[in-house]
């Protein structure tokens, strides 16, 4: 590849790329390193923009097409920026029969976004997923790693308010 990504100013200034160097170093000599590196890189960068994918491809010495192929195959890897809180509504069978569709609809209305969208303030991204393994509490959603279960449609506004309030507190 002819681009000089490593020496570009963006990446030398951004301390997250140093972290990425460490991650690449940790896994470089293992077989099957790509996927753990992507997981950890996403934890650092929140998502996997092209610059990060190129950096990883060079660091692990694998074709960029391979990196891109893997990133786009798995739904947990994201190439788009995400909100601070990712709301994942379970649309698995148990949750479906207990009405998770209505909860999704209500969230769309409450946040004013479609599935996959992020609110304008960058706070929430709304996603759907298939079974979080908390089916005993259906219907279920997670906000980042926190599980919220036994929900009704009417719990949605207060849940959103709860996280908005949290955010205001942390700002003040």
């Amino acid at each position: 590849m002819s681009c000089n990504c490593k020496s570009s100013t963006l990446e030398t200034k951004d301390p997250r790329f140093q972290q990425l160097d460490e991650i690449i170093e940790k896994y470089k000599d293992q077989s099957g390193a790509l996927s753990p590196v992507l997981h950890e890189a996403q934890n650092v960068f929140v998502y996997l923009p092209e610059s990060v994918q190129i950096y990883i491809a060079e660091g692990l010495n694998v074709p960029l097409s391979e990196v891109y192929g893997v990133v786009t195959f798995y739904s947990l890897f994201s190439t788009e920026p995400r909100g601070k809180y990712v709301i994942n509504v379970c649309l698995g069978t148990a949750c479906y029969v207990k009405g998770s569709g209505k909860i999704m609809e209500r969230l769309k209305k409450e946040l004013g976004v479609e599935i996959g969208g992020t609110t304008e303030d960058g706070l929430f991204t709304l996603k759907g997923c298939r079974c979080l393994g908390a089916c005993g509490l259906a219907p279920v959603l997670t906000i980042n790693e926190q599980v919220h279960g036994r929900l009704t449609e009417d719990d949605v506004p207060s849940l959103v308010r709860l996280y908005r309030a949290k955010e205001e507190q942390s700002v003040n």
Partner: protein, 597 residues
């Protein structure tokens, strides 16, 4: 070791932590400190008891008293009454739903009394983050026995004789699989644990990993010894953060104790484990796709044969089993194959863990002997269907399975009986549906799932499921034609025969199975343009039952399209032209006077 007069077991599984069980634990510790009981009573975090719906759950030993839905503000009373004065706190006991009787002993609750715990033997009993507690419950005894008293061949023989079959869905005899991996010559072999648990509605593996991670680690080491492998991988879904964390802790502890690593227990056997995370692709639960994923590629399946036991991870012989399959192994080695095969039916030995969910009173995790009837599971363990509704069907086998209809409720559940009904055991999700669930809609739901999760490598699965889904969408929108049913069947059989991996080969099952048992429902959608269960929006009309309507006008106020009109204190009416069938009015009506027909 310190001796305590009482132990308070607090569930720290995913279900109960999301209902704040960790706050309850903190509050317990605070109260015990305040009353100077902290030297007499010990609070222990344990894995899932299975009764997730009632969380947070706690059990107080030695009495074995089960308290449910315990909130942090209940703790003070609980400590003062039960732990200080020895008086049961009645209001926090469990209520049997059928009889309304309060039950205090763990073992007398119907939910637990029909169960037999083998794979879940330690879940809810020990602290999963302490290897000492696992060892105190005979943990790693089976590994010691295998390494010191048994040859590799003897270990395989015991697993074969036990009759254990794979719990990941297929039901392949585990001992035979071990034998194949053993037979393939090779310096380097691998042992892999499939903890991808992709079937929606299933959380057995999650609970085992969260509640008893060492049982899986121990079994994988035994498998490594038997087939001649030195390295193992556990492939866990990233959606299970608590399981991943506890597995990590457990692996480190096992290394510290010399139970993983070099020269295990002073023998010349070396074995170590690493965790690999899934990244949200259902097809990666399929074994060849899983191996491709561990190798760091797109998780696409490969044709079999060659089977993984011959050519698996990095082309080396690889043994791959499911979490629950492994969790049975230490018990089999310790108690013997005869003990294990005395449980269950002729061709399905041992127990099976099921995740009970959907329209059932007691949702949660249960383990029962193979051959238990669906009736026992639903009415005795599960406590029946809520709100007096009628039982319609139980879905098993996830997107590869089907629905067992109400008239077959006395079916004894094992691998072969379920296959005979056109469903399958799957990994153990059991989702109960009542009269308000539409079977055409459920079939559509599963096809949407497989359509989305198809990796796209082979056309029958990629395109065929799409065409089937389109037909189902038409039917649920009231645009179905009589030929549709036949077309569905033709497509289904082609996809089954021509797909590359299990995902495509089983994707049509939910359709074929519901066509077999609920054909009248399909026909009602196509010919009468009606959805008997009242689910498919396009086929419903909303009406106000004049006799029941009190004329309060609430429905008219909440209707987003102003389709409802009327005068106060007189029955209101809905204009079907304006009605968008959103259902808001039904939810708000306090008198149940609005119906979907």
């Amino acid at each position: 070791m310190e001796i305590y007069r009482s132990h308070v077991l607090v569930c720290a599984g995913t279900g109960c932590t999301s209902s704040d069980s960790l706050e309850v634990r903190d509050e317990l510790n605070k109260e015990l400190n305040r009353l100077n009981l902290d030297k007499e009573v010990k609070v222990v975090e344990v894995g899932c008891f299975g009764f997730c719906n009632l969380g947070p759950n706690i059990v107080i030993y030695p009495e074995g008293t089960f308290y449910c839905r315990v909130k942090p503000q209940d703790v003070k009373e609980l400590v003062e009454e039960h732990l200080l004065k020895g008086r049961i706190v009645n209001r926090l006991l469990y209520n049997e739903p059928e009889t309304e009787v309060k039950v205090k002993d763990f073992d007398n609750i119907e939910f637990f009394s029909h169960q037999k715990r083998v794979a879940l033997r330690n879940c809810g009993l020990i602290n999963p983050e302490k290897i000492e507690e696992y060892i105190a419950h005979e943990g790693y005894f089976a590994l010691a026995k295998a390494l010191k008293e048994m040859t590799r061949e003897e270990v395989i023989e015991v697993v074969k004789k036990s009759g254990l079959r794979g719990r990941g869905g297929g039901g392949f005899p585990t001992g035979l699989k071990w034998q194949f991996a053993y037979n393939t010559p090779g310096e380097v072999k691998y042992v892999v644990c499939n903890a991808d648990e992709g079937d929606p509605g299933a959380f057995m593996d999650r609970s085992i990993l969260e509640g008893d991670p060492h049982s899986v680690i121990e079994a994988m080491a035994i498998a490594g010894y038997a087939i001649g492998a030195q390295q193992g991988y556990i492939y866990v879904r990233a959606e299970y953060p608590i399981a991943v964390q506890r597995l990590g802790i457990a692996i480190n502890q096992a290394r510290e104790y010399g139970l993983l690593g070099k020269n295990i227990l002073g023998t010349d056997f070396n074995f170590d484990l690493d965790i690999r995370l899934g990244a949200g692709a259902f097809v990666c639960g399929e074994e060849t796709a899983l191996l491709t994923s561990i190798e760091g590629h797109r998780g696409e399946p490969r044709p079999r044969p060659p089977f993984p036991a011959v050519e698996g991870l990095w082309k080396k012989p690889t043994l791959i089993n499911n979490v629950e399959t492994y969790a049975n192994i230490p018990a089999i080695i310790l108690k013997g194959p005869e003990w294990f095969s005395s449980i269950g039916t002729e061709k399905s030995k041992g127990t099976k863990v099921f995740a009970l969910a959907g329209k059932i009173n007691n949702t949660g995790l249960i383990e029962v002997p193979m051959g238990t009837t669906l009736r026992t599971i639903i009415y005795e363990i599960g406590g029946g269907i809520p709100h007096g509704k009628k039982f319609k069907a139980a879905q098993t086998g996830g997107p590869s399975g089907g629905c067992i209809p109400a008239h077959l409720i006395d079916t004894e559940i094992d691998y072969d009986n379920l296959i005979a009904l056109g469903s399958m055991m799957g990994s153990g999700g059991l989702i109960v549906m009542d009269e308000t669930d539409c079977m055409v809609d459920i079939a559509k739901f599963f096809l949407e799932f497989t359509q989305e999760e198809s990796c796209g490598k082979c056309p029958p699965c990629r395109i065929g499921t799409k065409r089937m889904l389109e037909i189902l969408e038409r039917i649920t929108e009231g645009k179905g034609t009589p030929e549709d049913l036949e077309n569905l069947e033709v497509l289904a059989n082609t996809i089954k025969n021509a797909s590359l991996c299990g995902l495509g080969q089983t994707a049509p099952n939910p359709v074929l199975n519901t066509l077999k048992y609920f054909r009248d429902e399909y026909e009602a959608h196509i010919f009468d343009k009606k959805c008997p269960a009242g689910v498919c929006q396009a086929l419903l009309t909303y009406v106000i039952i004049a006799e029941k309507c009190k004329g309060c006008g609430l429905c008219a106020r909440v209707c987003p399209t102003a389709a409802i009109s009327g005068k106060p204190k007189e029955p209101y009416v809905i204009d079907p032209e304006k009605c968008i069938k959103c259902g808001t009015c039904i939810e708000k009506c306090k008198f149940g006077s609005i119906e979907k027909k």
